[in-house]
Assembly symmetry: C2
Homo-oligomer: 568 residues x 2
């Protein structure tokens, strides 16, 4: 491709409000432009990388026997009613109405549409298992679009859905898919971790996420400092054992605590540790109020809480609701003397607090010498807090550390959770009607582009890996007005192209400096410069990754380039 | 592909409410399913045809030097403000709001986003001309989705946009694109016509549509019965000359005409011809009321009217507005004694009406012996009616006939109309800032699939052309429990696949009759049946298009198939 004929709008100066380096470099090197908040146009170079990613991913899917399909972006809104729990974050779904007031959504996922299709079209075990895939835009109403392609409203995904007659069959595809995802990420040269993840459903059987470690990631990984254990902090179980105290229980006492609201203020007021305090928070769980207790130094994990309570919906109670229920503000909630019908759910750590401190459900007062069971009833103790650094690893080896990562893929054995809701049944070998088993597999393609852009760069620009570079070779005549140089460059352009190299030919009338800066920004694996020694038939070859520079005769160029591109 | 592993849900019975045969057959042969009103899922076979179409179209675009890009589906609504006239049918644009109340639309076109990008990124004549293309879903809020893929809310398009420094350069690309479109449609084996079309803008330079003749088409073509002339009826000029009458003008007379409203009723009441009547219709043109007159046997063409008036917006006046303006109902409007400030625009044919009939702006009355100029003033005479069968062809050769067709593509020289609105300027060789010239080119890919489905079928199913068939060969062992048959079939499956044939291997445990019915429905070019003569190594080969049947030895199969697929 002649550079004069395509659009690569490199930038000398960067807008200062760009937060992450992948986004910065995609803008600077002319790969990407924002179209509107959280929505991007992929310029020609980015499109070429995406095409290569899509091709490779499609090949991997076909190899696994998955069938390509295209499901629509527009979906009827009522399709979500069956899968409410997948979308408790309803505000993330972009909604619209057509001219007939029909309520539509823009597909955040195609699990429901696919399952509906399966229900309608597949009746017999003979057609199972079957796996579909598609590569398509999905949509999400991000509350705060940022980090460029990492949190955008319109993004490109490969999704796959599999349906099975048995759990064993699902498990087999799950393992295959896990291998394929690993293979894809390895081919991209990405270091990833496959971590335990939220199954999101009470009976979801298994789920993993593929995470690339990164400080800008939105996923927190809890991992062991001694073993391979790694898990999404959203579901990591806490196996800490809390020693029960031998101290005697003191008499419960209500103390006036003016202006004392936060845990820090409580501790400083009573000169106590956070471990002596009980944090009380009111949730609305499937329409009923529940007081949830965790220790002062712990944080409630709403996903573990929801799973523990098998809740369909779970939201924080509003200030008004708390005022009406308890007659106090948020900072004064406590577990003692609650209205009947208000359940108390406590984290396991609460059980061993002796003579603790809690809110009094009365602004300006706290109870001290609070002891569970003696002073208030607990409906159940559950593991409902986030694991913390220093907690023992759930696998029994080492202690937990935390780090951030970017989720690039997820695989999930959904089991029969969704198929039951949709009545997606099949007739088995014995004539029995049963719900299909389902697997769900996602891979973020625009996200992979962003992760690669994050990793494959140095201070001068991108450093694309050979297989996924927009072009293979950047061919640059230093001075297009020098006939010898330009002729040799044109000649090499034709030869290289005929050998099936993808060549970007910088035929622009620009200063050499500009061309080299652009070339480094774009970051193709090999730069071939035709300069002063053109008359001798000598060209300069620079390897972008290593910075190595060679002078090769034009006659040996093809062989040497073939060798370079064949090697790893 | 083994048929047991993919999804081809053929139907024995059809829902009775399906109107057109392409849609019927796409459903029956298991290519398509409706997801919600006007929105479809492409099942695996349809996806394979689409992939082949996309690949061919991409190749044609690349050959022309167009650069692939991906522009987003989500667009800010305010982007339309500059191109109002492209979207006077605002209700066809699907709109939504994000959680920050930002108004968004789902792309009906990418002309505006692309032009905005050009304005921001291209400054110099050195970067022109440049042509981009993309293949992507577009959205339209169809008032009445029907005919399956032909009028759907979400559809697949190839769009291309070109930008130029001069009109000559635009013209050159326009001609190239016109050739490429012709070549694409020819490769698909479609008979099409390239007709003059609405440029939609006052200074749009030229536009053509590619139409495939079909009774279910929404486009009406006006063509000459003697020459090559063909044009979209929306813009076909009327060149009829209306002889002026020699008859004397009779005195104007107001006649009571109870219950007489339609043109037919008027004619029968007065025993006159429709050619003696004046139809009066009130439009609201850019906020002002205009009375538009055409002869009783003619129909107003709103696009010609809008263009003649250079109107930004043009709508019919409502009943209330007419009542308020004239004090009568729709059937009684006339051009005589109108309020001041209400303009009268008349079709050219009105000029030669002598002693005609018109409404009296008073319910229950008409005027007779109405003569233009004597009885009412006309602000201008314009060519504002639809051409009719029997009118002379505008090219001077023959008379006009009408037929219906499906628009599959359009090409348009937009000139500087849109680029001026977006200030998409460049600096020319002399340092002058000028608006770019723009071309816009669309090709409906899902529409092409529908058109092919309409044409390539017989009473038993599809008859796909070789190049765009979902697979090349349908390989069918009659009885999979017959070991000799199944072994030979499996062996041939591997051999054919290794020779790069796309093979659909019917490995299902179904009766032969079911398999053959399905095979005819799916309509691959060649069926290879392995039946009773398997033990002799003889297979039956049926050519779907001609119905020819051959018995070939397995040893000669590859050579003969190669020969068949190489031939035209």
């Amino acid at each position: 491709m002649k550079q004069s004929l395509t659009l690569i709008p490199t930038l000398r100066e960067m807008p200062s409000d760009i937060e992450v380096k992948s986004h910065k470099m995609l803008l600077r090197a002319g790969f990407l432009r924002q179209s509107t908040s959280g929505v991007y146009s992929y310029l020609p170079l980015a499109k070429r990388v995406l095409n290569k990613l899509e091709k490779m991913i499609s090949e991997e899917m076909e190899r696994l026997g998955a069938i390509e399909i295209t499901l629509p972006s527009l979906q009827p809104k009522d399709i979500l009613q069956h899968s409410f729990r997948f979308h408790e974050k309803d505000e993330e779904v972009l909604q619209l109405k057509d001219r007939n007031e029909r309520q539509l959504i823009l597909a955040p996922s195609h699990e429901e549409v696919m399952t509906q299709l399966m229900r309608d079209e597949i009746k017999s075990y003979k057609k199972l298992p079957i796996t579909f895939y598609q590569i398509q835009s999905k949509f999400r109403d991000e509350s705060r679009p940022r980090y460029g392609l990492l949190r955008s409203k319109e993004f490109l995904m490969k999704a796959a859905y599999s349906y099975h007659a048995t759990e064993e069959s699902l498990e087999a595809t799950y393992l295959q898919m896990s291998d394929v995802y690993s293979s894809i990420l390895s081919r991209l040269g990405l270091y990833y971790e496959m971590i335990d993840a939220d199954t999101r459903t009470a009976d979801g059987l298994k789920a993993h996420e593929f995470i690339v470690a990164s400080d800008i990631g939105e996923t927190t990984i809890a991992y062991s400092d001694e073993s391979n254990y790694a898990s999404n902090i959203e579901i990591t179980p806490v196996v800490t054992s809390y020693p029960s105290s031998e101290k005697p229980m003191n008499p419960l006492e209500k103390v006036e605590t003016p202006q004392v609201k936060t845990i820090e203020e409580v501790c400083s007021f009573f000169t106590k540790e956070q471990t002596d305090c009980m944090k009380s928070i009111v949730f609305k769980v499937d329409g009923e109020f529940v007081v949830v207790l965790v220790r002062g130094d712990h944080q409630i994990n709403p996903i573990k809480l929801r799973n523990a309570l098998k809740a369909q919906s779970l939201t924080l109670a509003t200030e008004e609701e708390i005022e009406q229920l308890l007659g106090c503000t948020i900072g004064s909630i406590g577990p003692i003397k609650l209205p009947v019908n208000v359940k108390v759910i406590a984290d396991l750590a609460i059980q061993s607090i002796r003579n603790g401190i809690a809110g009094a459900n009365e602004d300006g007062y706290h109870y001290i010498n609070v002891n569970p069971e003696r002073d208030f009833a607990v409906n159940s103790y559950e593991d409902i807090r986030y694991i913390q650094e220093g907690d023992p690893s759930p696998d029994g080896n080492g202690t937990i550390r935390l780090k951030k990562g970017i989720e690039v893929g997820h695989i999930r054995m959904s089991g029969t959770w969704l198929t039951e809701k949709f009545n997606a049944n099949f007739i088995d070998e014995n004539g029995q009607s049963k719900p299909m088993y389902m697997g769900s597999f996602g891979l973020g393609i625009s996200r992979l582009l962003a992760v690669m852009a994050e990793i494959y760069q140095d201070e001068n620009g991108f450093v694309w890996p050979k297989q996924f570079s927009p072009y293979d070779i950047h061919l640059i005549p230093v001075n297009i007005h020098d006939e010898v140089q330009f002729d040799l460059a044109s000649q090499l352009y034709h030869i290289l192209t005929s050998y099936h190299f993808d060549v970007l030919f910088d035929d622009r009338d620009e200063r050499a400096g500009v061309k080299f800066i652009d070339s480094d920004l774009i970051g193709l694996p090999v730069r071939v410069t035709i300069g002063k020694r053109a008359s001798e038939g000598i060209v300069e070859v620079k390897i972008r990754r290593t910075g190595e520079i060679f002078e090769w005769a034009k006659e040996e160029l093809i062989d040497r380039l073939n060798e370079y591109f064949r090697s790893h």
